[in-house]
Structure formats: structure tokens, C-alpha cells
Symmetry: C2
Subunit: 120 residues, 2 copies
Amino acid sequence: MTKSSHSGSEDKRCEGNFMLALTDTLNVVSGKWKLPIIGTLMDGKMRFKQIENHIPNINSRMLSKELKDLEANGIVTRTAYNTVPVCVEYELTASGYSVLPVLEVMVDWGRGHRQNIIGQ
Amino acid sequence: MTKSSHSGSEDKRCEGNFMLALTDTLNVVSGKWKLPIIGTLMDGKMRFKQIENHIPNINSRMLSKELKDLEANGIVTRTAYNTVPVCVEYELTASGYSVLPVLEVMVDWGRGHRQNIIGQ
DNA sequence: CTGAATCCCCCAGGATACTG
DNA sequence: CAGTATCCTGGGGGATTCAG
């Protein structure tokens, strides 16, 4: 180890790019719509309108904005076809699909926490 | 299974309280200060001022607000001593300590995602 | 030392209308 | 169909001051 005279798990937490990697994940997982969108696309490639129909209360502005953000972050891919009317398909990348296990860990923690609270 | 004629992992995702548990976790993990606070307390019981000193740029208002929120959510416990001046200690609950593995999974995903992006 | 009270700013997110 | 352009609001978060 380098220095650190105090105990705890600080070394592991502060090591390298812990915070960077964590905020990367948070950027994908937080906000109101990113998770519903990713969840919807877990069922496979889908068009703009389909996604919109699968997510209650979202509007096209929000969906467009979030999809653009997810694309910029390498979570979804966008494919446009020169048809008329236009058709655009969105699909999760490998990274996109791989958030599912992360979600499951988070869900497990949430459930365990509720158990802790109830049986306090 | 109940119904659902379509493929994918939707059944698992929509099952029971998936979303509830997920948002429970998100409430603990998102926001600007909750994670730094939890991370700081991973080193053990600590006083208000100590926590404040461990977290750059936080102010007492934010720290107080977040700690109150974390206490209300069963993530930290608060113990006040009738000394003068007053002394208050905060400590993670079992749930609080148990978010560490969750963070590590999130960090792993973040690192893997960076690898995916780089080696695209 | 440990907060509570006030005031303020910014922006995520919503509503609506419009276009290629 | 797949977005863009505007306008608007609430609340997360900051700075400062005061109090027990």
C-alpha cells in the first residue's frame, strides 16, 4: 500500500478511477427516463414511436433528448432508414444490455433494505 | 407465468416490486452528496464536523439535510450527547454498510463500459 | 459544534406547437 | 414518423447568517 494510517476500506474506494467509473454508471442509471428507456429496449430493437408507446407519460421531446444522450454515451445505437415516412430504429449496445445485472444488484439491495427496515 | 406472449426479459423486470426496490436504491445512491457521505462513514462512526472535513466543498446546510434524509431512510443512525458543546455522532446502519457491494458492481460496470467505448 | 432559516440560482423536466 | 423550437415551473443545491 502507499500510505494511509487509518483503517477502513478507503483504499479500495479511492483507488484509481473509482469515482469516475461510479459517476459514469450514475449518468446512465439516474434521471427520470433513462432506465425506462433501457428497460424497454431490453426486449430488442425498437422504433421511436414504439418506445414512446411503451413508456407512459413520456413525450417526444424527452424521449428524443434522452435517446440522443444515451447514444452519445454508447448505450444505444441509432439507425435511420431513407423510407417515407422516415423510420428510425434504436437498439441497446453491449454496454446497454449489460446494465441489467447491475439493475438486479440494485433491486436486491432495495429489497434487502426494505426487509431491514421492516424487521428493525 | 401469467400472460405475456412476447419475448425478452420483461417478466423478470416487471415482476413484483422491481421498480419500487430500484427507486429505493436510486434514492440512496443519487444526488450530489449521499454517496460521498456514505463513503466517508464507511471508515466508521464519525461526528458532524469530521464528516464535513472529509468532504470537499460541502456546507453544513447540505450535510445536515442529507444526513437527515439518510437517517429517515434507515441508512445512518444519529446519536447526540448532552455535552457542551454538543456532540453528535453518525454511523452507518447495516443497510448503509451493505451498499458497498452495490457500489462495486456499479464501478465494475462503469469500467467495463469505458473499455467497450475505447475498444469500440 | 451542530444545525435551522433565508434567499437565490440553475436546470431537469413538462406542455405545446410546428416541420421535413 | 421522428423529431425540433419555445416557453415555463419546481426543486436540487449553493451562500450566508443566526441560534442553542
